[in-house]
Symmetry: C2
DNA sequence: CGTAAGTTTGACAGCGGTCAATCCTCGTGG
DNA sequence: CCACGAGGATTGACCGCTGTCAAACTTACG
């Protein structure tokens, strides 16, 4: 049985707060936290001996039993499905995901892209089962956090509730900001905002914010931004012609973040 | 000091769950719950004697002190402002509100319309103050629920946290559904969805779902649906010409909800 | 090597945005 | 009581952005 070190999820929940609030070196702390949750392992049960380091402190005791072993998901596999009963929240340990909803016609809308440290499945907390599907964009690892940890009197922990409430508040703000974006700007502004968003995710995880690899397809990006994939492709090509960035397949090199910011902030439509 | 009867907010939190889950007569219960919170009163402090009926049961005791007297807001006044420190959640007692975000240019995006029983200000729970503004669309009453009730050990109540988590989950689902709508259908489908949404709100509160008065302007509707006000006006006129509804100023009579459903569900782009 | 999936690019049409004029309703003040 | 002005709503004209359809190309993978 794995245990949750103190603050690990709490720190993660603060990840998307204004960066000024995070102290330097916080990323290392977070990585350490996640590493302490257990080594990556394959889905097949392996009896590898568990290192119980850190299991004996107080916070770990309070949350003991709340987190299971990480699960490895191959690209395209789903952590949970829309309509499925709500059993777990999922914390991304490695890799990336998209969460999407499908309507009765089969068209699906991407709600969010998730990276290490992100919590998936919050919509299930409304009580009606999962209302979205989480699909791995590459081979990824997730921690499953059983929902029973919320209702079980033995595990009830106010701080864990507060972490959750904070995460959900951030999710709500994220969605509002997305709405604001869609109402304010056209295809170029939306794509610029998306690229800057990705860039920020990369920076927050210690990768280069100026050069990165997108794991999602053009169709996924289009769905996320309420655009057709052709429009996304065209806008990328145009931005490349304008010298704002270089795009090779899914590899992006940003040359002028300033230009992207202008498109995001001032481009009417 | 007013007290919160057992389940009152909890019942409200279930308001937007699938209707199949709500039992008949639930609306009367909800009204009774809100009525028990206190009579409507003007903002000026009036020393009218407080009826303490129901104050002595266990649930009321647990939540005692969490709810203040309702506040009367005139049309156009704000319950809270974007950027303001987060001090209260607000439960609508009577009237209606819009919550909106403004960007650096002053353009504002309506996120949601709120009616009696709705909880406003959930975005403040992320920890960074209010990220939106709540504006009364008519003379309205709200209950202010101090955020201190969340952190104060004396008032800590797991069920209250769970109510909040459930409300936030529903808010997240609502936003996802809105995104799905925007990506799927064009102006007519969006407007049809909006009218059916309003219709459902009216039905849930005991008013006629086929004939009602909209308190929001065309500009507000357009902002909410990511459309210009002229497009909203045009679409309304066209729907009227098609016989789906009658529109007189802000008074709506729906003649064919079926036609609206078709527009919402099947109309591409 | 062949098939499938993803991407790019082109042509074209239409929806919705923009600008503008007019109308209507309501509140205010003469 | 009426005149006036402001804000909201409607309608028209125009056009540009983006969706749609289609074809060609590249890469990945069996």
């Amino acid at each position: 049985m794995l245990v949750l070190p103190p603050h690990s999820l709490h720190l993660r929940s603060l990840k998307t707060l204004p960066l000024g609030a995070s102290r330097p070196g916080s990323r290392d702390l977070l990585d350490a936290d996640f590493a302490a949750l257990g080594r990556p392992r394959l889905p097949a049960a392996e009896g590898e001996p568990e290192s119980r380091a850190g299991a004996s402190n107080a916070a770990a005791l309070v949350l003991d039993g709340m987190v299971f072993a990480p699960r490895r998901l191959r690209s395209g596999q789903r952590a949970f499905l829309q309509g499925e009963a709500f059993r777990n929240l999922y914390a991304v340990r490695a890799g990336s995901f998209k969460t999407s909803m499908v309507d009765h016609d089969g068209r699906d809308q991407v709600n969010r892209f998730c990276f290490p440290g992100d919590l998936m499945g919050l919509d299930g907390l409304a009580g009606g089962g999962h209302s979205s599907t989480a699909t791995a964009l590459e081979d990824s690892d997730v921690y499953a956090v059983p929902v029973t940890s919320l209702g079980d009197p033995a595990v009830r922990d106010i701080s864990w509730h507060e972490v959750l409430i904070r995460c959900m508040g951030q999710e709500i703000i994220r969605q509002h900001a997305q709405l604001l974006l869609l109402g304010r700007v056209g295809a170029f502004g939306r794509l610029a905002a998306f690229l800057l968003e990705l860039s920020e995710e990369m920076r927050a995880r210690g990768y280069s914010p100026m050069e990165f690899h997108m794991r999602m397809s053009r169709a996924d990006i289009g769905s996320y931004l309420c655009l057709r994939l052709e429009t996304v492709s065209r806008a990328l090509s145009t931005l490349e012609q304008q010298g704002a960035l270089t795009v090779d397949r899914r590899h992006i090199v940003i040359h002028s973040p300033e230009q992207l910011q202008v498109l995001r902030d001032r481009d009417p439509s």
